[in-house]
Structure formats: structure tokens, C-alpha cells
Symmetry: C2
Subunit: 161 residues, 2 copies
């Protein structure tokens, strides 16, 4: 195993671990539970489900892995806070989006070679990347793993009905 391969394995292991916990946490909540706030006056679990589906969907173009599946999620789950939009997609729809996005994303993540992981992500120009080689695809994955952990810490607070 090369050094690059070793580091990619470490970062993918961390991602997989958090993803597994996130699937478990959402799977543990009933459709009704999803409408519960994580804490009084804070985001509802259903908002986090849509938010995380949107953020993971955004990883596809950011990692230069293809087009997005559900760009319409952003308007509700990224540009606006929870409760600003009256009508959300249903729990069944959002669970489907979440599952599909992660299936497509994970398949593409596993197909990248170690070398490809260290290529630039889409928000940095080729010129800047020469000076800032840490702005690579793997750095996006590590950042999104932390994002996942952050919201996971909130999801586990939801009281089951």
C-alpha cells in the first residue's frame, strides 16, 4: 500500500463510520419522529435529513464526479433555515433522496484512485491548486465527514415518540 493509498483508506474509513451511524440514526426515527425538534426552537430532524441529502448531493459536482441528482433541495434545505418554508417534501421522499444520493456518491467515491483523490476539487482553480495542494478532493471528504459528525451529535438528541 502506498502512502497515498493509506491516507485515502483512513479518510474513507472515517467517512464510512459516520455514514453508518447517520443511516442508523435516521432509520431509528419514525416518520412522525422526524418532525421533532432536536432541541426546543431548533431544527427538526426532517430538516437535517433534507439538509444532509442536499450537502451530499452538492459533493458530486464539488468532487467533479458528475451532475447533481436533486438540486431543488437547496432552496429549502440550504438557502433557508428550518420552518421558513411551509411545505417540505414528505419523509418518504426525503428518505429516498438521502438513500439515492449516498448510494450514487459512495459508488463514485470508491471508484477514485488514490491519485485522483489528491487532485483538486471544483472550487479551486488549477492555478491556485498549484500553490494550495491541500485543496484536493480528499480534503472535501474530510470536511464533510466532520459536517456529518456535527449533525449526528444533534440527531441523537431527538426523542423517539
Amino acid at each position: 500500500m502506498t502512502e497515498q493509498e493509506l491516507f485515502v483508506k483512513m479518510a474513507l474509513n472515517a467517512w464510512d463510520g459516520q455514514m453508518k451511524r447517520a443511516h442508523g440514526a435516521f432509520g431509528n426515527l419514525s416518520d412522525e419522529d422526524l418532525y421533532t425538534e432536536i432541541a426546543p426552537g431548533k431544527n427538526r430532524a426532517i430538516y437535517l435529513l433534507g439538509h444532509m441529502a442536499a450537502v451530499h448531493d452538492l459533493m458530486l459536482p464539488l468532487l467533479r464526479l458528475g451532475d447533481r441528482l436533486y438540486p431543488s433541495l437547496d432552496e429549502v434545505f440550504i438557502d433557508q433555515p428550518d420552518k421558513a418554508v411551509q411545505t417540505l417534501p414528505s419523509p418518504a421522499e426525503l428518505r429516498e433522496y438521502w438513500t439515492n444520493v449516498n448510494n450514487v456518491l459512495n459508488e463514485k467515491l470508491k471508484s477514485l484512485s488514490a491519485e485522483e483523490w489528491f487532485q483538486r476539487h471544483n472550487s479551486v482553480s488549477e492555478e491556485d491548486f498549484v500553490k494550495e495542494p491541500h485543496r484536493n478532493r480528499l480534503n472535501v471528504l474530510m470536511s464533510r465527514t466532520n459536517h456529518l459528525a456535527y449533525h449526528l451529535g444533534q440527531l441523537v438528541l431527538v426523542k423517539k415518540g
Copy 2:
């Protein structure tokens, strides 16, 4: 910059970013706020402060960087859940432990060479490490960065008085 140095920089950047946010979140809470639960019936912020100080203190021996500063924290903040122990250290004491632990830890983290980051951590034997080279110091850092993000997601829910 060698490949190893690049990985280390990426992982340390992620750690520094989460640490900065955690310092900000605790600094934002008054001593009184610390006694607030992150959500009804859940951990209080003061427990998270002690818990994170203990977990970071544990990183010193785990990373083979020296002895712990505050091993007595474990009994209250790792072995027991919040509210199981009646008398906690004061907010001032815990803030001091948290600051000291992270100062000592960060100084030692910055002193490691890229090569040293890829050496084994203390919970894996030299024999096993040959077969499982991902169980290195840097993997501990990445894991603790996610742990930090997880509890940070909870800390930001605390209502300020």
C-alpha cells in the same frame, strides 16, 4: 512538501478548525449557561466541557506524547454519565483544565514530524501495526476531530441566559 507532509497538514487544519470553534462555543457560554442541558434531559454543557477535556487529556498517552495532566477527570466525565456524580469541579476549574490540556496537546502535536504521525498509536501493538498501518497517530487525530465536531453540534444548541 512531501505527500506525508500534505496529509498531516490537511488533518491538522481540520483539527485546528474544529478546536477554534469549540473554544468559541465554550467561551460564548457564561458559567451559569454551562449548567444548561443541551436538550431536555440530555447532557449539560459543563459535562461536555469536562468530557472533552478528559478525552483530549487521554490523547497524550494514546499518541505516546507523555503523561496525562488530569486523569481524575475520567471517573466523572467518562466512566459516568452526566448527573450521576453530585459534585463537579467548578466552571473555572474545568475551563482551566480544558485550556491547559489543549495548550499542552497542541504544542506536542505541532512538534511531531510527518513521519512520526504515521507511526503507531499506543493501543496497537507493534505486531498488529505491521498488518494494520492505518492505526497510526494521525488516525487518532482524525477520529478525535470527528468527536469534537459531534459534541460541537450539541454545544451550539445551548440557550444563553
